[in-house]
Amino acid sequence: MSSKYTEHNVTAEQIMLVVLVGVSALFIVEPILSNYPDDARVFPQLTASIVFVGSLLLLFRDYLPGPLRTFVAESISITSTDESDIPGSEANLEESETTDEEYEAETLGAEYGYKVDETTFMVVTTILYFAGGWAAGFLFATPIYVLGYTLWFRTNPVTSVLLAVLGTFVIYLFMTYLVLPFDQGHIFDFSPFLPLLVEPITGGGV
């Protein structure tokens, strides 16, 4: 077992496998509880069983007996090229990615003493954007998200504003040509204000 495993009790992979075990168990049990007919039950239960057993094996691979452990944990390939022998190959690039992950970008937060991991920031802001889009509509959430994201990474404010306008325009195009209700949210409806925003630009064409 690698030192990485011994240093941290729980890895992200273990969490992922536990989730997979739980979800696949649900996929096995639900058809029984809800009396699914055979033609709706067999295939999902079969595939869920593979996920369930496979995830359990992977979760407890370090406690498995020799041959089974080899089968579960060993990497096997039919392509013979060992990319690690080639300088700068993908195998080596993976190592450099680790270095990249340690890189800290210049952010607005760092200026005020807050250090937030870039990936975490990206995921959190994206989830907030999703929630904002659902609640108030993508048309209004998009400029806030794009401005917030780019300004956090100290992008030139003019570039940020231009990008926010471009992002909003893309959403507006979706809304207009594909007739999507991106100006309406499930909680807030700002669509009555839309003509006030668009008319000065389009000259009342909307």
Binding site: A12, S77, T79, E118, T155, V170
Partner: protein
Amino acid sequence: MAAVSAFFEGLSIALSWPTIGWLAVGMMLGIVLGALPGIGSPVGMAIVLPLTLPLETTAAIILLVAIYSGAMFGGSIAAILLNAPGTESAAATTLDGYPMAQNGLAKNALAIATAASALNGFLAAIALVVLSPLLIEIVLAFGSPEYFLLAVLGISLITIVTQGSIVKGLVAGALGFMISTIGTAILSPRPRYTFGQFGLYNGIDFVAALIGMFAFAEMMKLAAQKQISQDDLDIAGSVREGAKTVFKYPVTTIKSGLIGMGIGMIPGSGATTSTFVAYAEEARSSATDGSFGDGDPRGVIAPEGANNPTVSGSLIPTLSFGIPGSGSTAVLLGGILMHGLQPGPVLFGEQLHITYALFISLFLSNILIVVVGLTVIPYASKITEIDTNLIIPMVIVLSFAGAYTLNQNWWDVGAVVVLGLLGFYMVRYNYSVIAFVLGIVLGPIAEQNFFRSLQISGGEYTIFVDPVNQPLSFLLTIAILVVLFGPFVKGRVERVVSRT
């Protein structure tokens, strides 16, 4: 005769307006997306996929193929100028492309990449048309049990080729199948795993899954990576000399093309493998007079000559059996299914003209690569200078809008986030994302063929292992077992033999 008339019908479709216009748009979009570090063809195709909904079917698929082909070349721009491949498949090009740029031969290297990629892509597209009558014969010999077993074989092969643990690959593939069963059951109108949520009745749209797995997960990865230097790059050298270099090494060029096309046909291998194999083979065969790693032009010809034929090669299993060879072909398969086409007998039967239109478009796109590629070279560095912090929010905006466009369903947008997170960790811990995607895309087809097989056999599972009545199914089952357990058994046998 039917094939000849389908060929000419395909030719007229490929050359008609606006189809040819979409080909050009896709090609240019592909070059730009491929040149942007961290984007590449699967991400670009996944974002564009929902936007193709209003397009006519053939035009939409041709647009996607053109993006794929263009991105293959575009990836080399960042690889040569920045030592940062725009796509994984261009990683091998950095080995000699970047040293060439440092030696003042950036234009030569870019022209070599353009010429080698286009020339071999052009030849591979011709080979595809020539091979198609044989493919038609093979495809038409397959029935329901064979198609179900092929989906399983595809996932098994991907597991092995992607060099991970077999169990991880199987879990990934089965998880994809499992998620594809959410929603109304295929054979009986009964909702499954919807838990009273009306939005889940149509299931998780596989295009949303593709966007999550490729675009969202890739943006998470990109967010953590260091911004590449934006210093002004001096693009020196000669485009003409570079293009001529490709013809100085005809054996290297043709050999790389054959390697690319051959490896492209293997599910799961993709251009990343083919370009490295082509590079390694060239470095091995020219070891005596080569200066590989220091800017040897053959070190650029080999990977670039292999990348575009891989596109042609990977179309064979994708269109014939619905088994994609790479992430990009998985997205392409998604596009094919989204537009109501069925890989296999239909695409090689009544819709053969569409298949030929695709092959011919591939042929035309390689001519466009030369024209656009050689024109773009002096301005190439501008594309690579775009800040990743500007790319990420725009990709997210397009991903969410695209996912919502599919069915106007917020569950699809949520699936982008959830499956994107899953994809990020799957890549990090070496679980095959392609196997997962294949499972989710092929799930409904596999389930349908699974039940149709059981209906044929009266519920007997022996239909999959009957050597007398179903010899093809039997052979496929054996192939699955060999693929899954062969390497493991071989390793054990070798250990025992070496001990004795």
